[in-house]
């Protein structure tokens, strides 16, 4: 084994030089690049997590708003139904009242007509009776007195009823 101190030192020097050059040219920049990439990937993952949380938050807010809107809609619908029912009830009552009024008026009209008819009928009966009596007695009596007698007669009849 022919050891040469000069060659050993040259080889060692060449290696040290190579370490220095590669450290500056390759290892450090590449390690830095790897770190940067790791950091970027980590930041990206964090960003994704943050975005996911944001989306979840938005979804939660949307769900809340949706539930609120549904509740409001349900309330308004209920209110509309209640109002409708109220109006219907009101209409029913108005109709009933009007019907009652009409019925009442009709009854009053009927009573009035009946009374009028009764008066007319009584007069006509009295006239007919007088006429009949005149024909029967063949003589002319005092009209006013006769009529009073007949009316008294009719009242007596009504009383008998």
């Amino acid at each position: 084994m022919n050891l040469s101190i000069q060659e050993i030192l040259t080889q060692a020097g060449a290696f040290i030089l190579l370490v220095w050059v590669l450290k500056r040219m390759a290892w450090k920049p590449l390690l830095k690049l790897l770190d940067e990439r790791r950091e970027k990937i980590r930041a990206s993952f964090e960003e994704i997590e943050k975005a996911k949380k944001g989306v979840e938050e938005l979804k939660y807010q949307y769900d809340q708003a949706h539930a609120r809107i549904e509740e409001e809609a349900r309330k308004k619908l209920q209110q509309a139904i209640d109002e409708g029912k109220q109006i219907a009830r009101q209409l029913q009552e108005d109709s009933r009242r009007e019907a009652r009024n009409i019925l009442q008026k009709a009854k009053e009209d009927i009573t009035l007509e009946v009374d009028k008819a009764k008066v007319t009928l009584r007069n006509e009966i009295a006239d007919l009776t007088l006429a009949a009596t005149e024909r029967l007695l063949h003589e002319k009596l005092d009209v006013t007195k006769d009529k009073e007698i007949v009316l008294d007669f009719i009242e007596d009849l009504e009383k008998l009823k």
Binding site: M1, T10, Q11, V19, L22, M25, W27
Partner: protein, 275 residues
Amino acid sequence: MIEETAHSAAHKAAASHEAAHEGLKELANWITLVNERWHDVPFVNVLHQWENVVFSLTAAFFLIILSFFATRKKSLIPGPLQNVLELAVESFENLVTGIMGPRGRAYVPFIATLFIYILTQNFMGLVPGLKAPTSSLNTTVGLAICVFFYVQGIGIKQNGIFGYIHHLMGSPHDIVGWIMVPLNFPLHILQELIKPMSLSLRLFGNILGEDSLIAAFVGLGILSLSFIHSPIGLPLQFPFFLLSMLLGTIQALVFSLLSTIYISLMLPSSAHETA
């Protein structure tokens, strides 16, 4: 004419320089061929004498150029070359921090350079016309000395000079430990000195063995067809190329891994306990 050519090719292919290898032959490289042709030219002689340094510098320039092109246009979305280099860097980062913990990141450049430099040098033995500089003890000793001083420097920097000496004394904590200091101290110093020796001899022996094996089978391949005066031989060395690639990678890994462990052992106990 053909016989002469075959003889010349066989001669050139098996042309080996025995310098420092005690009879072990290696394949001829372009410097040995140039030296055979113009051996009386002083520059060629110098080149031949320093061929391991020349090939080491070739490996170093190759790596510098490669890293230049790989990192020329750095981007967060890497190109193919940057991707390969990033993969290597990340693998080494994981390897080193796996052994030493997060503090090991500072030593990644040294360890990673050591690995790719040794790997490139080992593989150079497979390229025709080149030579694996790691088949020379001068190269491996040079690298091991760098590791030795780096490890000791880290020991002094991380522990302080007294902490470093305390470490060399075996970190005694009780009376028995202090009694053992006269024994432990020289043993630890010896241990620190043996570490680079073992590193360099292991790498040198393995790579020289592989290269010699390949050279022997190249010679055998040429000899096997010499009876028909073939200018080329049978590629009998091919299986050993694959073996050499595997062992070259393993040896580079062993060298860098052991260096990592030596650094780790030199760090203050809290540093490698956290690993």
